[in-house]
């Protein structure tokens, strides 16, 4: 019998009707493979009984009674599962380090990282909201494997619903004896509490996260010592991402061997992505590792809307990299993304079409990272600020020869010398856009032209008289009354008044304004 984990594939055999097609037959769902999201939409997350009815909490007794802690660790190692929070470190190896670590006080901790700071990412929130017990079950199993007696779910306070769901799940699991003392009569004790974070991006970094849990300022510290040696209150601590934890029950139930059958050589299992941007179907998707970007963007995502041309995908959040159309057949796994200069990150995928300016995009991500830098170390704090200044100059038509090289020089030092992952990855959006779209940078710097017609300082809105029918729609939308002209005759834009909002460009049906935005030379 197939378990709910294979929901999409098991349903394929059901008869389809034209009137109301099966969900699983729709392009968006067809090639998804739901493991972490196995209960998506199938259960009421506030009812533990529903999770149990769908086969939940079956892995836990197996881990408690049929397996030794070493066997659990081995199973996770066999599965090839790698951390879903960013760096992709093999989970089993991390567990083994924590399991074998000596604790002076005898305590060990496990932490679920639900900080999820990437703008536009919502996989962890969705998991906690829709299936909190899967995460919890994973944590109990992990705690058992590593010998931890206390756990924390660190979740940002901007996720009030997720906080409620996981808090309620903890209460219910305690009521059922699945959490607390002597779990299921096994003599094993494990408690979990929820810690709400203030929402700083950097608090997702593990050492800053631990400082935050301990009540200190959320700033990263150098490693070593790694959390597995000396984490919370100096005790061995294992931190995993929400999605990593949610995969554990499947692995224990069905075996590491089974899990490692999914995915690519070095990247096993499935990954949840939040597919957003200029793509027809947006939302959370879960696919086997190794699926190509083309399949994700076009088969699942349904391609770029409004007939625009696909340009690139930003993978891995603000500190990820931009992958151009020429690499659209890239299989998405940790290694391939790294080779392309991007990262898996926590699974953000932002699709961009031809109307995106790559320099402006890099400037946007760099500004985000500038604001989120904790300020502790010089290359990240000062270097990202300088990158943002240079990028701002470039998009505002003040770029100078040598700016691109200066960006590369800064990027090198920031990557090599920053203390934590935020700084080490911050140059990625700049480096990848320079690598794949250097001509766009040069066009901005040398010719003061923005090929995507995005950078306001370099464009002028002008009516093309031959095409203007004088319909006056632009006159109505212009917020500053910059357009005038008699009905049915070509209009005129008063460039002194125009604030370049683009409203006329959007509204004009005759391409009279749009097509020919001209450039300042």
């Amino acid at each position: 019998m197939k378990s709910p984990s294979d929901r999409t594939s098991s349903r394929k055999s059901l008869p389809e009707t034209d009137v109301c097609p099966e969900l699983a037959s729709l392009g968006f769902f067809k090639s998804q493979r739901l493991l972490a999201l196995r209960h998506r939409g199938l259960l009421n997350p506030e009812e533990i009984d529903e999770y149990i009815a769908l086969g939940g909490y079956a892995a836990l007794p197996k881990a408690l009674f049929d397996m030794t802690p070493e066997e659990i660790v081995d199973e996770v190692k066999t599965s090839g599962l790698r951390g879903r929070g960013g760096a992709g470190f093999p989970t089993g190896i991390k567990w083994e380090l924590a399991r074998n670590a000596e604790s002076k006080s005898g305590s060990k901790y496990v932490v679920c990282n639900a900080d999820e700071g990437d703008p536009g990412a919502f996989m962890d929130r969705s998991l906690l909201e829709a299936d909190p017990h899967a995460v919890l079950e994973g944590m109990v199993i992990g705690a058992r494997a590593m010998g931890a007696s206390e756990g924390f779910v660190y979740v940002r306070d901007e996720y009030p619903h997720a906080v409620r769901m996981i808090t309620r799940a903890i209460e219910q699991a305690e009521d059922y004896g699945l959490l607390g003392s002597d779990i299921l009569g096994s003599d094993f004790d494990f408690r979990v509490s929820v810690v709400r974070g203030g929402g700083a991006f950097v608090c997702g970094e593990e050492t800053a996260l631990m400082a935050s849990i301990e009540g200190r300022e959320g700033r990263p510290r150098p490693r070593p010592p790694y959390p597995s040696q000396s984490g919370l209150w100096g005790c061995p601590t294992n931190i995993n991402n929400v999605e990593t934890w949610a995969n554990i029950p499947c692995i224990v139930e069905r075996g590491g061997e089974w899990y490692s059958g999914i995915g690519t050589k070095e990247s096993k299992g499935t990954k949840i992505f939040s597919l957003v941007g200029k793509v027809v179907n947006t939302g959370l998707i879960e696919v086997p590792m190794g699926m190509t970007l083309r399949e994700i963007v076009f088969d699942i995502g349904g391609g770029v809307p409004r007939g625009r041309k696909f340009k690139a995908v930003q993978s891995g959040g603000p500190s990820g990299g931009c992958i151009p159309e020429s690499l659209i057949d890239l299989p998405v796994d940790y290694e391939e993304l790294a080779k392309a200069g991007a990262i898996m990150g926590s699974g953000g995928l932002i699709v961009m079409d031809e109307d995106t300016c790559m320099v402006d995009l890099a400037r946007y991500f760099v500004s985000f990272l500038e604001e989120e830098s904790c300020g502790k170390c010089v290359p990240c704090r000062e270097g990202i600020k300088r990158m943002r200044e240079i990028l701002t100059d470039i998009v505002e038509a003040r770029g100078k020869e040598g700016d691109i090289e200066r960006l590369e020089e800064l990027a090198y030092a920031i990557k090599e010398a920053s203390l934590c992952g935020l700084g080490k990855t911050a140059p990625n959006p700049v480096l990848t856009t320079i690598r794949y779209f250097r001509d766009e940078y040069e066009s901005h710097v040398l010719h003061k032209r923005c090929p995507a017609k995005v950078c306001k300082a370099m464009i002028v809105y002008r009516v093309v008289p031959e095409r203007c029918t004088g319909c006056q729609r632009c006159v109505q939308v212009c917020p500053v009354n910059a357009i005038s002209g008699p009905r049915s005759q070509p209009h005129n834009v008063d460039l002194d008044k125009c604030i370049k909002c683009g409203a006329c460009y959007e509204i004009c049906k005759f391409d009279a304004i749009a097509g020919d935005a001209i450039y300042i030379e």
């Binding site: 700083a200 950097v202 300022e217 700033r219 510290r221 150098p222 070593p224 500038e370 604001e371 989120e372 830098s373 904790c374 300020g375 502790k376 170390c377 010089v378 290359p379 704090r381 000062e382 270097g383 600020k385 300088r386 200044e389 200066r406 020089e409 800064l410 090198y412 030092a413 090599e416 010398a417 920053s418 203390l419």
Partner: protein, 212 residues
Amino acid sequence: MVSFRMNRRTLKVEDGTTVLEAARDAGIYIPTLCYHPALESVGACRLCMVELSHRGRTGHVAACVTPAVDGSTVKTDTPAVKRIRKTVLELLIARCPEVAILRELGERLGVGEPPYPLENEACLLCGICVRACREIVGAEAIGFAERGAASEVLPPFAVPSARCISCGTCTTVCPARTFELSKVDAVGTMHGDSDDVRTRKCVVCDEHYTSS
């Protein structure tokens, strides 16, 4: 004991010795700024970056917070290390062009005017004062406020802190000489940027110290 190579020499040091301490003992120069021998190292300025190779992997690490590893190789003067140092120091000079110690370091490392618009900050944000106040004085009267480039050393909530005992340690250790601690009757200035603090007179030494 740990035995490892630094540049062309083999060094033997106690377990737990950092790369920086080992280098200093051996007379090998590595520039530092946020390091202070009496305080916990935090790896903030990143001027002490060196190249570390171990078990076939090579990367750059901060010498002040990296323990020497048996069998590893450290290089303190490669072109890449110099390139990183140069950028880091340029970034610092651009932030604090008036701070003498940066210009001295610039002279020693051959780093001149930075290619960025100059700011005029007095504080390097090295955190030595914060650590000294916490670790040596035990007062914890100052800490970092804000984040990123907006960071500042301030008493909690930017309100003059009752915990400051006007000991002056922070002013003494500051490599940039940013602090001014004046002992005016009944009013002390705890930090360059903060407001004045009401002080009380000590019955023994007659000096003023702050109190709420």
